[in-house]
Symmetry: C2
Subunit: 312 residues, 2 copies
């Protein structure tokens, strides 16, 4: 059966936009339960200054736990060289450096232009090579379908940044609809072009559900051959510019859709739904999203798909 | 630009599962505003006994108003010959007779087997021809992707029912995922087969968002050439077997997605969002669904799509 990989982003992209500080013990429990449910790729935190993001101040400790689980790929976000040095010291398997294809968003959030981020990326790659570190380096292009500050973001500019990251030595590149501006047609067109440029180094699609299109966008991306997607348990995370709006694609909804379609994720949805209930407790009062949890699994859950063709 | 038609089902499929009785004046205001927003196909009610569905007891009056709006196609649901006779007396342009592909669901809800419904359908067609009435006859196949009572529903059985309806004289057939069991791969496979059988008589896809997949399912259906979809304003309606679950595809979310993709619906989303706010008042206390209304339209709304290809 064809395989799709979910990368759980709840502990980083989710928690970074949640005010509640989740205890380290709960994060460890989250990772353990997600692993037992079958997840094998988890972004565990971010090496940013703790005063900026106290929710993620325990990233090194959480990462150390994740590294005890056999076969789990634990990644971290790094905003700059300093974060990258920490990730390499901690032997993270992969570090993700974000770049915003929107010039205005990049200046507002990172105080750098996209080209300055690419230059930093190249310095990090050089430092890694000099240190002989094994940490893989991923460039994640955000606001790739539009931006709440600048509005339109041209696909040509996204692909220019993608080429820049590859030239700067990215092991992997990914594309993110940070603010829920993407639609399935735009995804198909941009992802096809990105695949032609980056081939197997085009690693992952990242969709927010701000306007309800995350799962439809995943389907469009699947048609272009991309088979790895970011998501967050309970759909947490989301957009500071749209308070109350839903966040990332919900991991449990994504796994449900993929498995129904005949893709294999290796993830047990029932365990994921149980973990979602734990998360609701850890985040007491914070809004969770997603749809499946309300109606529950259908009566036909666990039966083979009604079609005998496979979707790949 | 390629065109997709939305058929508004809120006044029938929505209101039939809502306890609140919406006043006839409000229904008329709803139809007027939807028409002004650009909608041209609206199912206005159902000719069922008023004691069974008091919410829809004013269907004849509502239909009479809809018929005053130039170019508006107003349809009604009819459960049987008696309902069909009423629809023809009222000169409805189209009547929709539901058939459940799930044998168990059909017996539980209609007290008839699918084949008995097909036989009734043939009698209605004969009666229409004898009367020389102009009312078009659509067969709508529900529980086409599974059923909360029976579980699995085989695609072959759905297509057998489809062929039966066509043989019985259906002017149109449509396929509905009544309980939110469909997924994009199953939709693509079934809709491709249905299109091969029914051609242009395959009229419409109808998806519920019970498990968050309605819009992804619409995209899969679009790939098979179907370009007409049922939806309800605010996503009202839904499944009595899953209380609290979301209902139909939300009209405003569907229009948003299609327009972003480069399809033309002829519908003004901002007017639709304003009408949704009116509906929330008319249904005081009832849950509305959908996603777009929370975050609002993106900054790039109204600009041409970022891709210069069209999706058809």
């Amino acid at each position: 059966m064809p395989k799709v990989t979910l990368r759980e982003m709840g502990l980083r992209d989710g928690l970074q936009s949640v005010a509640t500080i989740v205890a380290t013990e709960a994060k460890i429990e989250w990772i353990r339960a997600a692993y037992e449910a079958g997840e094998r790729e988890i972004e565990v935190g971010s090496f940013v200054p703790p005063r900026l993001m106290p929710q993620l101040a325990d990233t090194a400790e959480v990462l150390a736990f994740a590294q005890t689980l056999p076969g789990l790929r634990a990644s971290v976000l790094v905003p700059n060289m300093k974060g990258a040095e920490r990730a390499m010291e901690c032997n993270a398997e992969l570090m993700l450096l974000p770049l915003s294809a929107s010039h205005a968003h990049s200046l507002a959030n990172l105080r750098k232009t996209p080209d300055e981020v690419i230059a930093e990326f190249a310095r990090i790659r050089a430092e890694r090579d000099a240190a002989g570190a094994a940490t893989l380096l991923e460039g994640g292009i955000g606001t790739a379908f539009g931006c709440t500050i600048q509005g339109r973001v041209e696909p040509d500019e996204v692909l220019r940044c993608l080429q820049g990251l590859l030239d700067a030595g990215a092991d992997r590149v990914s594309i993110a609809d940070t603010v829920g501006y993407a639609d399935p047609h735009a995804v198909r067109v941009l992802f096809e072009r990105a695949r032609r440029i980056a081939g197997e180094r085009f690693w992952c699609g990242h969709f927010h559900d701000t306007r309800g299109l995350a799962l439809a966008n995943v389907c469009a991306a699947l048609d272009t051959g991309v088979t790895r997607f970011d998501a967050t348990l309970g759909g947490i995370g989301g957009c500071p510019h749209a308070p109350g709006a839903s966040g990332n694609a919900a991991s449990e909804d994504l796994v449900f859709m993929l498995e129904r379609m005949g893709w294999r994720t290796g993830i047990d949805i029932e365990r994921l739904l149980a973990l979602r209930a734990d998360l609701a407790q850890w985040l007491d009062g914070e809004p969770l999203h997603g749809t499946l949890w309300r109606a529950g699994l259908p009566k036909t859950h666990g039966q083979p798909p009604s079609t005998d063709t496979n979707p790949a």
